[in-house]
Symmetry: D3
Subunit: 123 residues, 6 copies
Amino acid sequence: MDDNRFEKGWAVLMEVDGEGGQRVIESLKEIAPDLGKYVVEFAFGDIYSREGLDLKQRQLVTLTALTVLGGCEPQLKVHLKAGLNVGLTQKEIVEAIMHCGPYVGFPRVLNAIFTAKEVFQGE
Amino acid sequence: MDDNRFEKGWAVLMEVDGEGGQRVIESLKEIAPDLGKYVVEFAFGDIYSREGLDLKQRQLVTLTALTVLGGCEPQLKVHLKAGLNVGLTQKEIVEAIMHCGPYVGFPRVLNAIFTAKEVFQGE
Amino acid sequence: MDDNRFEKGWAVLMEVDGEGGQRVIESLKEIAPDLGKYVVEFAFGDIYSREGLDLKQRQLVTLTALTVLGGCEPQLKVHLKAGLNVGLTQKEIVEAIMHCGPYVGFPRVLNAIFTAKEVFQGE
Amino acid sequence: MDDNRFEKGWAVLMEVDGEGGQRVIESLKEIAPDLGKYVVEFAFGDIYSREGLDLKQRQLVTLTALTVLGGCEPQLKVHLKAGLNVGLTQKEIVEAIMHCGPYVGFPRVLNAIFTAKEVFQGE
Amino acid sequence: MDDNRFEKGWAVLMEVDGEGGQRVIESLKEIAPDLGKYVVEFAFGDIYSREGLDLKQRQLVTLTALTVLGGCEPQLKVHLKAGLNVGLTQKEIVEAIMHCGPYVGFPRVLNAIFTAKEVFQGE
Amino acid sequence: MDDNRFEKGWAVLMEVDGEGGQRVIESLKEIAPDLGKYVVEFAFGDIYSREGLDLKQRQLVTLTALTVLGGCEPQLKVHLKAGLNVGLTQKEIVEAIMHCGPYVGFPRVLNAIFTAKEVFQGE
């Protein structure tokens, strides 16, 4: 049932993103509540809940995707905290961002590293 | 020394990418030999040789970066084989590509999945 | 229920994309069957089934997104046919692609136009 | 004549973008006045003035292009107001942005939705 | 006058891109003739005809833009020949593409270099 | 030797980017010092130090790459000043950015032009 996907997704969202993710969903309530519902159901209820990769591996993939896309600093902040939440170390996160250098160049990597610096210092 | 970076990089390139990577470097010899040198030295001698992430984690990051960038099918093919070389399972690779869906949408994910299908079937 | 989303999505997929969409889902069966399921459920069962825009407007948005992304020629072909299926004229499709010129430049527009030419001539 | 294209383009710019567009052109006067001229002449005098799609359809395409590109928040703000100016409802605009989700993922869509929220609340 | 822009643009297109550019314009005749007109008028009549940068500098910029965008191999082929037409050496072109490495990573650079190899060998 | 690449790179970085570049490297010290080292060694020690293009040509390529990528305003600011440092005129820089218009569209070009306006006015 849809309710099931939402509930399962919400539990994973809270485990992974915590308050940061909750705030994103809530900030959508006035303008596009169904968008928040889809994020919870599809991104977290369907995808994050799958077997085959653990949450640390999934956060590595998410952080890489956001680094490469560029212009996603708000989402990157949420998922940098999420990375720490699921057990990645700051060192592993920095390594993953740096690893993108040969594939997407220094500007995207620098933007992500400075966002990480901001998040890590705010801890 | 530079020679050291090249030798170290070449050893990692051979371990990770194997013949596929070697062919890329060789195909650069006539037109831009130094580009091949930089790929070996920087991507493999500097970055892949770092501690902090193991080779399976590094391939997860690489495969994600190439999936998100789009239009990198030749590089994706080399690194899909590399993923298998360093011990990722086909299932883990498929999961990593699918995990990108909520972040970059279905078209980039479909392109990467069909490239993976081609590589896995050619094994 | 999930089954409901899939069935609803499949009906919309068949109405919009027809055989081209069906082939995409089927070609995923061996390698990533759940990805096909998510495309049907999320893209078609959730999004395409929403009110607020009619199918012609939705295809305008889809065709624009694929034109701007670049490197999505296979998806563009499916959705060019889908555009005609839901009632867009060839002229409207060409206009929509051309309208992207000032926003994304000529190369992305030329690639989409030549893909459209191929699809229209194959009709 | 060129003058004609500029005059026609200016009239369309004023109809579509209003003051927001005018401010962009004026802010270019010191640094790159001809760039403003080309925006007026090519984007509005040539493209927006064409037949084949009405202004609401053209704004759907523009808003989609800017959502997908990413990093174009200033232009998106101008064109969100333009969308309302030519008769799109807030609901239609939100639907169009959400429709991009399956094609470009949630981060680009969230960025555009929050920009829309800001514009709509400032009305 | 518009005719003037087209004529001026056509002369520059022929000087810069030669037959390759002409073929692009002609291939648009059936599907989107006005798009070809805009390419000639805006890209060549307006932009390429400007003072402030010579044609070699302009081709450096064009080749970089196409390398960075990715997925523009057909346009890159036309402009690689154009680079040689206006006096860039093969060495300068290869250097310009390689210079993009630290900014956009190796995959986009490799794709452009292999396209250049193909064009240079076909000479 | 590696030391050599760093020293050579640092000298070129100081010549090209000056204090702006130095600040980027220093701001990496706490979070990812090796990333700063790679920027100096690879981008400046390896690539910028090559023959085949002079520093003005290399800055044209860099400025174009950053304009096309989008979302790289901090890097663009550093390299706009670098462009002036190596002898490009404001007019040449503006022309190079405008030249990107037909290839990547107005939004990326407007973002780069407004960044240039800010940098030039701060001089």
